[in-house]
Symmetry: C2
Subunit: 398 residues, 2 copies
């Protein structure tokens, strides 16, 4: 089954106009995998209709990456070609749309995990994170249901069923999806404001093998994922988004956390991930599968082993309501609470990053830590413990 | 039917080692359409096995180009993005492999031909031709049989039959294709030497609606398509190749030429093309279909309307023996004699280009003018007329 063209066009319009909010005269940089072509084409048409000056689509073929990891020399394993750096720099002030939904999420699963880990284009990722933190581009991420991805979710290539779940998660079932998105983000922003009003010093996750306390910075600031660029253009960086997030104090994470969902990471599936933190730093990694890829990422630079993001999601999440594991971070991180090791997000601060306690890294990897068995509490600066989530239900007044 | 993996790997090895002749430590730039992924992957693996430092594959999606032509602004219609210029410049001193075999050769056929014509990336093509004439890269072109292309050839998606024809044309049916290629190019080089020994002043094509005389330069030099880069690396730029070619005197083409095969050009099929030349310049274009795209190309710069290449191919050509029209210039130009309007090829000269009479352009478009009904004669500087081809049979001693 293919997604009907009219529905795909409607989805592309939403992503272009509400997600990236493409402006007249902008360049639009689209990035996806080979299997994403139908969606990339719909996005390109929608972007031109929205007034884009030029749409550049870059297709990544993971099989070519696989060839490099299998047969290529060590010296270029993590190399960022200068023409890709030039393209990345050209996104400054322009619009960017990334497509997720991996047709082959375990394509690299049989390769040497150390080489897989080192094959990441480090300079390119760093530049990308720099532009992100500079609020240089109006960008969004959205997923394209395809047979391979559907097979990972359902063990059969049921694209129709996956499309139904994705369309529900991004509110395409609404008569007026744009209005529905506005109301939804407004609600998340009220939730963020309530959290900020608590003046929290830390957040604690407890239950189901997890006992983790994540310290916050004096200027850690919860917010919803509606961003504004340095040029003043508003955009919604993730479709779907169900989170309120902040940047924690990288020095004050303590305890053990057990991931509650599998994590698709660099062509491998990490299952049963368990991390132990001391004085902010991850000092032990265990997993049923994929531990070495995580270890390789955590070793990639000084900031990689520290937390850069803390995000809260409750059971009212449309993604969570589907009851599915998507093997796609854009979805799974919006089904439940998550944290990320690596680079801190300046968007999660009120004002500039402090001299110490804000993680800097070329890595930023989210993984899921929430669920009905995990209680989440806020520890306030004046010594109170405030329940935030119990049995996946939001505890603060809305 | 898919091409068996082992056969595709053998083909990729031939293209990488005999065609581009990839050297240890080289960057390898692969360019193809989305439908070429299986071949691009085989090429990448073969290139790494041959010692490539890094393989960069750029996939072009003609549907994105279609979006630009349909909905994009005039200002970026022929724009060359700086990151693609950077990539092109990076090919200097490296290896390049282009994949042909268009899955949708008529994809742009229903669009405004003037906008189609202007959508070409002019600066990028100019840079590409500059590197070509500077012998800066060891490069080759090879085709990947796919369903869409097979449908254009056979009116049904018979990939197996197309693969058989392609494998025959590139001598993969031989036990030792590398030795067969050596012997084949040696024979073409003897043919070129015999032509050069005649000291020709012009070549005349006559018959089947054609009466065209193409003047040659004092240093026009026939050669086969085995090139050597400025760095001294030999390569075969076309697989297949069956031609001996030269650069003509751009000022001295006279008469009318009727193309003997359809021409796939920028997503359209040009049928029944007829061009009239006066004092070197094309002054009239007619065609049953696609005339406007040709007119747009000829108008793109000063040199575009002059001839830049003259190539002779006889009926012993393996491509010609298949009896097929491939709707792919790499194949159809190697089935029969062809000429090209636009940029002259310095490889077709003995020494440097003269101050006048050598065409410079951002265009170089080959089209087919030979066949059993077209007699080809050489006119020598001392006034003799020497038959070169009669009824597709080569007339000089071999």
């Amino acid at each position: 089954m293919e997604i009907p063209a009219a529905e795909l066009d409607r989805y592309a319009e939403l992503v272009v106009r509400t997600g990236a909010n493409v402006g007249r005269g902008q360049l639009v940089f689209v990035g996806g995998l080979l299997g994403h072509a139908p969606f990339a084409r719909a996005i390109a048409r929608a972007a031109y209709r929205a007034g884009a000056r030029y749409v550049d689509v870059r297709y990544v073929d993971r099989h070519i990456e696989r060839g490099l990891i299998e047969f290529g020399p060590e010296e270029t394993l993590g190399w960022s070609p200068p023409w890709l750096m030039e393209r990345m720099r050209a996104t400054d002030g322009q619009a960017t749309i990334g497509i997720t939904g991996d047709p082959e999420p375990e394509l690299l699963g049989d390769l040497d995990p150390h080489r897989v880990g080192r094959s990441r284009m480090k300079d390119l990722t760093e530049e990308s994170l720099r532009l992100l933190n500079a609020q240089a581009t109006n960008w969004t991420l959205a997923a394209f249901p395809n047979e391979g991805w559907a097979s990972a979710v359902f063990e059969q290539p049921d694209v129709g069923r996956l499309w139904e779940a994705v369309a529900f998660a991004v509110r395409l079932d609404e008569n007026d999806p744009v209005a529905a998105w506005d109301a939804h983000i407004d609600r998340l922003e009220r939730r963020a404001a309530a959290l900020n009003a608590l003046d929290l010093d830390a957040v604690r996750f407890a239950g189901d093998g997890t006992d983790l306390t994540v310290g916050l910075l004096p200027n850690s600031h919860f917010r919803a994922a509606r961003f504004t660029t340095a040029d003043g253009r508003s955009h919604i960086p993730n479709m779907p988004t169900e989170e309120v997030f902040t940047a924690p104090d990288a020095r004050r994470t303590e305890g053990t956390v057990r991931s509650t969902r599998p994590l698709a990471l660099r062509g491998q599936i990490v299952r049963g991930l368990e991390l132990r933190f001391e004085a902010g730093r991850c000092v032990d990694v265990r997993a049923e599968t994929g531990a070495d890829v995580v270890r390789e990422e955590l070793a990639s630079d000084e900031g990689a082993a520290y937390l850069g993001e803390l995000a809260l999601v409750d059971g009212s999440s449309r993604v969570g309501q589907t009851g599915l594991t998507f093997f796609d971070t854009l979805f799974d991180e919006n089904a439940t609470c998550h944290i990320a090791y690596g680079a801190g997000l300046t968007a999660g601060l009120d004002g500039d990053p402090p001299a110490e306690g804000f993680s800097t890294s070329s890595i930023h990897t989210d993984f899921m830590v929430g669920g009905p068995e995990v209680a989440v509490d806020g520890l306030t600066r004046d010594g109170r413990t405030v329940p935030l989530l119990r049995d996946d239900v939001w505890q603060l007044p809305e």
